[in-house]
């Protein structure tokens, strides 16, 4: 597959054997040239940063190999001093790999007359994931926000070490269920790169269809939460109904509401399709969802009480955007024109190019706009893919692929880079060179990166009443952070 090989050509930007600070400077210089950081990884006594050059469509790797790990750590500066913060939330994971590493960015202590603290969470809202917000409030204004996560770590990365690929599969698909197709797809791409497995065009097409259906469900759910955060239950109910409609479509076509376990190494595995598939009905349903969701969005865009709450709420400061480089709809709403589907096309995005939907204001309104436009794009693309779909040309030779995955890989590491509904998702897979068991798995989820932009966006001249709106406009998953 052409797109597979594209990412396989990794350009080694260099290995630094000297000071840690120099390596950080090199990383910073790389970023200044427009290279997007994909993944920060500590493995095999070295730190490496994987980057993506969107213009040259190639992946770079910048490695730092400390001369003697024990002595170097003590004198090292904290990474934030160089102004790199995209991987702030990846650092705890790295710190666990290398306990000697001084990754403690620390948070300023806020105190003073009239400052009140609202600890919110981990039990909060109606149905919400466990995370704790510590809001420092002065009058109505939130002046500082701290986030505390780690309540729900399931240690996915640790759990898969030492397993064969097929044994690791059930765990990977349960990293984040609302993006499970993309997690599986990224893992599958990584596996296929490591073992150099090719995927037939019809399987690729179907994988793209799954990915787009998942994006539709995710965006519809996020928009529903955003609508109700401004006190508008009617659009929330309408969005939820459309979400349920697509979930039922998933079930009828492919046998699972969240399309789980359909993507396997080497292709897709279908139990139901095509016996019970009714393409005309599915196309009509998608057309209904397209029509109704546009209708809801235009209704909301003509509702002043909705727009008043969104405009200017939760603007991500420019300095935070530069340091964190948020990804996905959150990033694109802040002027970061980066979409993996366009920058490094994978699966069928090679033949179905996507233009990133970009807004520049960086507020809740921009994030709403980006999601609404991406939803329309995804719905149109899903319809095109469904129309193009023909009978699978070849079945996955599951037994053969399985046998292959229990043998030595051809390349290591295998990288899987996809655009999940919430943004850039990268899997770095290091299989054992003889047995094929997983030696190390590095994962960079979009939520992990975007959560570090949330405190600054909230404590940016917003009042307490904006909190649910800002929270909903980010729509991040905690399981993606705490995996």
């Amino acid at each position: 597959m052409a797109d597979n090989r594209l990412a396989q050509e990794v350009f080694f930007a260099g290995t630094h054997g000297g000071e840690y600070g120099e390596w950080l400077q090199a990383w910073q210089a790389e970023r200044a040239e427009g290279i997007e950081t994909l993944l920060l990884d500590a493995h095999n006594q070295s730190l490496s940063v994987w980057g993506l050059d969107p213009d040259a469509h190639r992946v770079t790797q910048l490695v730092w190999r400390p001369p003697s790990p024990d002595s170097v750590w003590a004198a090292d500066p904290a990474p934030s001093r160089v102004g790199i913060r995209e991987t702030e939330n990846a650092e705890p994971f790295i710190a666990r790999t290398w306990p000697a590493l001084p990754w403690s960015s620390g948070s300023p202590v806020v105190r003073g007359k009239g400052v009140f603290f609202y600890p919110l969470g981990p039990v909060r809202a109606d149905v919400a994931e466990s995370v704790e917000y510590r809001l420092a409030v002065m009058g109505d204004e939130m002046i500082h926000v701290d986030l505390r996560a780690g309540f729900k770590r399931r240690h996915v990365r640790t759990l898969v070490v030492g397993r064969y690929i097929d044994e690791a599969w059930p765990v990977v698909t349960r990293f984040t269920t609302t993006s499970n197709v993309h997690h599986t797809l990224a893992m599958a791409l990584a596996v296929e790169k490591a073992w150099d497995i090719s995927v037939s065009p019809t399987h690729t097409l179907l994988r793209t269809l799954f990915a787009e259906l998942e994006r539709i469900v995710s965006h519809l759910g996020d928009l529903a939460v955003l609508a109700v955060s401004t006190g508008l239950p009617l659009p929330q109910m309408e969005y939820l109904h459309l979400k349920e409609l697509v979930l039922r479509l998933n079930y009828r076509l492919f046998g699972h509401r969240y399309l789980r376990d359909l993507i396997v190494p080497g292709g897709v595995q279908l139990t139901q399709w095509p016996q019970k598939a009714d393409v005309t009905w599915a196309l009509n349903t998608l057309a209904t969802v397209y029509r109704q969701s546009s209708d809801i969005a235009s209704g909301l865009l003509n509702t002043p009480s909705f727009l008043d709450r969104l405009h200017g709420a939760g603007v991500i400061p420019a300095s935070t955007v530069a340091q964190v480089r948020p990804v996905g709809p959150v990033g694109r709403a802040s002027g970061v024109s980066f979409d993996v589907r366009q920058a490094l096309p994978y699966v069928a995005y090679v033949s179905h190019p996507i233009q990133p939907c970009v807004e520049t204001s960086g507020d809740a309104y921009a994030r709403f706009q980006v999601r609404v436009r991406e939803l329309s794009v995804s719905l149109s693309l899903a319809r095109i893919l469904l129309e193009e779909w023909r009978d699978l040309d070849t079945g996955v030779q599951a037994a053969r692929v399985l046998q292959m995955l229990k043998g030595p890989p051809l390349y290591s590491p295998g990288l899987g880079i996809v655009e999940a509904p919430r943004g850039l998702l990268v899997y770095g897979l290091y299989p054992h060179k003889d047995s094929g068991r997983i030696e190390h798995l590095a994962v960079a989820t979009p939520s992990m990166r975007n959560w570090s932009a949330v405190p600054e966006a909230m404590a940016n001249h917003n009042i307490m009443q904006d909190f649910p709106i800002i929270d909903a406009s980010f729509s991040l998953s905690v399981s993606g952070w705490d995996g």
Partner: protein, 201 residues
């Protein structure tokens, strides 16, 4: 303006079907007849008219949250049966716990349970909360809700569909879930399915 949507919904037939008290083959197809399992039949008086739920995420993959959130959607509308979500455990009658139950969440779950007033019921939602599912051996994962607080109803599934959750909540109050309509004869369900499919065209 959004008022037009409002007016349209007044004349339109509701999206809500009578499930689980009335047959809905589309929903019944997705549901799993063996999903709901009553561990201990709840005893004693329980106020059955308005039941407030408190949800606690004990380390889930957010699939159960997504399905639980859909109970408020017009397709399921659990408020028909008196259910509602409450932000405060002190107002809650049923505690719904999702996820693998991590060690970090155990004190939170216990505190939430203790803050609820009697009579109270506990529902373990999803296979993770019942036995840890694929995360059973992960470090820092307890994996069983019933080792932390007494559980009345287990709802299995990964994730359980909203229909199963609704039946499980029902079981938490009544002691047993309502039967799944149109599951006994597969051919009948197929016929119903074809019928519904035709309607939606």
């Amino acid at each position: 303006m959004y008022y037009w949507h409002w007016l349209r919904h007044i004349v339109r037939r509701p999206f809500t079907t009578g499930f689980p008290t009335e047959p809905d083959p589309t929903v019944a197809r997705m549901a799993d007849s063996g999903a709901v399992h009553t561990v201990t039949v709840p005893e004693g008086p329980f106020y059955r008219r308005s039941v407030a739920l408190r949800h606690v995420d004990g380390g889930s993959c957010n699939g159960c949250e997504s399905e639980l959130g859909l109970l408020t959607s017009p397709d399921y509308d659990f408020s028909r049966y008196g259910f509602s979500f409450t932000p405060s455990p002190k107002h809650a009658d049923i505690l719904v716990v999702t996820g693998v139950v991590t060690e970090a969440m155990i004190p939170v779950i216990v505190a939430t349970y203790e803050q609820m007033t009697a009579p109270k019921r506990v529902v373990a939602l999803g296979t993770c909360a019942i036995d840890g599912w694929v995360f059973r051996d992960a470090p820092g994962v307890r994996g069983r809700l019933d080792s932390v607080i007494p559980v009345q109803v287990n709802i299995a599934g990964c994730p359980p569909t909203p229909a199963d959750i609704l039946r499980g909540l029902w079981a938490a109050i009544e002691g047993e879930p309502p039967p799944l309509p149109h599951r006994d004869g597969a051919s009948h369900a197929e016929k119903q399915y074809e019928l519904v499919k035709g309607e939606s065209r």
